[in-house]
């Protein structure tokens, strides 16, 4: 990490969730290091990596948490979600069961995460065209109904990975900026401490969110 990487205007914690094997870790490694591992192994515990991007001239440092999908790691679940302002809910377009479990992951977010967390539904492995079992339109409709952003990605061939992170971070930034405009900052919210990311406070409830699709 260079010195420039340590300077940022905002630090946003984003969590990756979804069934084991949908490609969460490769999304992380593709975004933070532009690497893909074909023989990806099950994540042990929680992995944590960072990368900075620019939005509207501001440096956003994304602090991305990738968890194991196995249930034995539930003990560290509460710590995992604390302070998260965004979540990428990942399923595998070639395994319908991982899409069916999206509802369960949404309940988990409701139980453990801040209620105003920004959620993006991510259909990964879009390169497996011939094995697709989740129609794009079906997932897009589900996302609309639940107030989620939606995108399909391929960590293998890099399709939309950058876009997915850019979009969710931009959306979080818009919400934070909007809050700052409406509520003048009392303290120094521009440079939060390293330990606790920004807490997203309620904003106007948007029934329809901007769609981001392939």
């Amino acid at each position: 990490m260079g010195a420039r990487e340590d300077e940022y205007d905002y630090l946003f914690k984003v969590v990756l969730i979804g069934d084991s094997g949908v490609g969460k870790s490769n999304l992380l490694s593709r975004f933070t290091r532009n690497e893909f591992n074909l023989e990806s192994k099950s994540t042990i515990g929680v992995e944590f990596a960072t990368r900075s991007i620019e939005v509207d001239g501001k440096t956003i440092k994304a602090q991305i948490w990738d968890t194991a999908g196995q249930e034995r790691y539930r003990a560290i679940t509460s710590a995992y979600y604390r302070g998260a302002v965004g979540a990428l809910l990942v399923y595998d377009i070639a395994k319908h069961l991982t899409y069916e479990n999206v509802e369960r992951w949404l309940r988990e977010l409701r139980d453990h995460a801040d209620q105003n967390i920004v959620i993006m539904l991510v259909g990964n492995k879009s390169d497996l065209r011939h094995l697709r079992s989740v129609p794009t339109d079906e997932a897009k409709l589900f996302a609309e109904r639940n107030g989620l952003s939606f995108i399909e990605t391929s960590a293998l061939d890099s399709t939309n990975v950058e876009t997915a992170f850019q979009n969710i971070l931009t959306e979080i930034y818009r919400i934070v900026s909007q809050k700052q405009i409406r509520d003048p900052p009392e303290g120094d919210v521009i440079r939060p401490s390293n330990v606790e990311p920004i807490d997203v406070k309620p904003t106007v409830t948007a029934d329809v969110r901007k769609q981001c699709c392939q």
Partner: protein, 528 residues
């Protein structure tokens, strides 16, 4: 020093010999397992809870209640049926659960049968959990036989420890609702196989904790433990790939056989600076119990909370975790890990990361506080910065770039007839051994070397008749094993070397090791 020459022992393999435990045999020191009473006491005692309470971190214990899984009734019925049968025939026909997928018959698979080592793990109810080779689902028949054997001996108020048949040793271990079996054609003794099973059992505890696993099996005896262990298979494969049966030529087998770890060679001043950097940046962190720095499967430094120490079996679990987790090199990791010898009932939480992109040393900070991630991440960053400024990262890299330690190599080359040795101080569980070189670089030769050491270690630590000195002229080697009050030395020489020369060489080697002791060993582990 009086050396008594012994004749080469010829082993006659007895066929169909059946051995069982006679009461409570005294086990040798090297392979000492906690005795039942001590283990029972430890089961109810939790160091981690004690630490947490004492340090005022009040936190509600959220129980890990597993979701009730779907039962495979067909399989359960099949296993129960087999368990009730006294027949040990592998071809038992079972018409119950006709819908079961037809089982592949491993009994007639010569590749599967020809494996040098098999490891099986099942629950007391006969439920398959793990098989080193083959799909454990397809081995239900065999597991039923294993369960029947264990139950049969159990009914006689006894416990099965081994079976010797057809040149294969079968070692058994029963622990808290689990049955572990090793089947081996190698030269390992039954005790050595049981040490291996002990490491496997500890790996399971490390993932689940004893209390959690016990609770599960109390609630449901036929629980399928594989669901909870999913994603951990590579930890077992890597743990068991430590000898020549994995077709890998390495020194890993020797740390396991001697129940020890290896130390990363470093000059004394460098190691002191590293230890100080860890101490100064961690001493104020409340719930930190251990800091472990590892490179190339060897220990650089261990700093610990006062009063607590770490068992070599627990360190081997840490090494195993690091060795088979490549992704730690590019991110920070936060994992629950149970160290069973330290506290088998609770998790420590480990911040795991490599020091820097340009320094492949892995630092683990182990805390009882599961919310300590950012505190530990900050401490790690400061440690790395301090080590960079004092050029310790360079020193570590310098050593890492060498295929083997240059000084050790020169010393071994300086005794041309010395082929290999193992040196273990009595006061620490640390091992010094040189790189493998001719003739032990091929797999078949490594197998022979392994066999020699297995035999020597077994005879030195034999429970009924331990030895202090073995000198043996074999067909292709002269071997020496010497257990003194301060160290154990096992050395392998060219076959043409005579006794007087062996004594001279051993003296030379011991003097050199004593001179360089602090480069290759860590006398005391510092505290925070």
């Amino acid at each position: 020093m009086e050396v008594e020459q012994t004749s080469v022992r010829s082993d006659t393999n007895s066929t169909c010999e059946y051995l069982d435990a006679e009461g409570d045999p005294e086990s040798p020191n090297l392979y000492q397992e906690a005795d039942p009473d001590q283990e029972a006491e430890q089961q109810n005692h939790s160091i981690i809870s004690e630490l947490r309470d004492g340090l005022g971190t009040m936190r509600d214990n959220s129980a890990l209640s597993p979701e009730p899984g779907q039962e495979n009734k067909g399989l359960a019925a099949s296993v129960e049926s087999l368990a009730l049968s006294t027949s040990t025939s592998a071809k038992t026909e079972d018409s119950i659960g006709g819908g079961l997928e037809e089982e592949y018959d491993y009994q007639h698979d010569s590749l599967w049968q020809g494996q040098k080592k098999h490891i099986f793990i099942l629950s007391e109810a006969g439920k398959p959990i793990f098989s080193l080779h083959g799909n454990e689902d397809k081995l239900a028949t065999l597991f039923g036989v294993i369960q029947a054997l264990v139950s049969f001996v159990q009914m006689g108020q006894d416990a099965i420890t081994s079976i010797h048949a057809g040149g294969i040793k079968f070692a058994f271990m029963q622990r808290s609702s689990l049955i572990l079996v090793a089947a081996s054609r190698s030269n390992m003794s039954v005790q050595q196989l049981q040490l291996q099973l002990g490491d496997v059992y500890n790996q399971i505890l490390s993932i689940l904790t004893y209390s959690h696993m016990t609770k599960i099996f109390e609630r449901r005896k036929n629980f399928d433990l594989r669901r909870l262990l999913s994603g951990s298979e590579r930890l077992f494969y890597n743990l068991l790939a430590n000898d020549s049966s994995s077709a890998k030529v390495s020194n890993n087998i020797f740390t396991f056989l001697t129940n020890s770890i290896r130390v990363f060679p470093l000059p004394t001043t460098i190691r002191s600076q590293i230890t100080s950097a860890i101490q100064s940046n961690c001493s104020k962190i409340k719930n930190l119990v251990f800091a472990v720095l590892i490179a190339n499967n060897k220990l650089i430094a261990l700093v610990r909370m006062k009063k607590y120490s770490i068992h070599p079996a627990d360190l081997r679990l840490i090494f195993n975790l690091v060795e088979c987790s490549e992704s730690f090199k590019s991110s920070e990791n936060w994992s629950p890990i149970c160290l069973p010898k330290f506290d088998m009932n609770g998790y420590l939480h480990a911040h795991v990361s490599y020091l820097a992109d340009d320094c492949q040393a892995c630092l683990l900070l182990l805390s009882v506080d599961r919310d300590a991630f950012f505190t530990l991440a900050e401490a790690k960053a400061k440690i790395t910065e301090k080590l960079r400024k004092s050029h310790c990262l360079e020193a570590i890299n310098e050593e890492l770039q060498q295929p083997f330690n240059a000084k050790l190599y020169q010393q071994v080359v300086g005794i041309p007839e010395l082929r290999h040795f193992l040196y273990k101080p009595k006061s620490t569980a640390q091992l010094l051994c040189p790189m493998l070189r001719h003739p032990y670089k091929s797999l078949t030769e490594l197998e022979r070397l392994e066999a020699i050491y297995c035999d020597l270690l077994h005879r030195i630590h034999n429970s009924s008749r331990p030895l202090k000195l073995i000198y043996e002229m074999k067909e292709r080697e002269v071997v020496l094993a010497w257990a003194t009050g301060t160290y154990e030395l096992y050395a392998i020489f060219e076959p043409v070397v005579d006794k007087a020369t062996v004594i001279k060489y051993v003296d030379k080697l011991i003097k050199w090791i004593e001179k360089e002791y602090d480069v290759y060993f860590i006398r005391n582990h510092a505290t925070f």
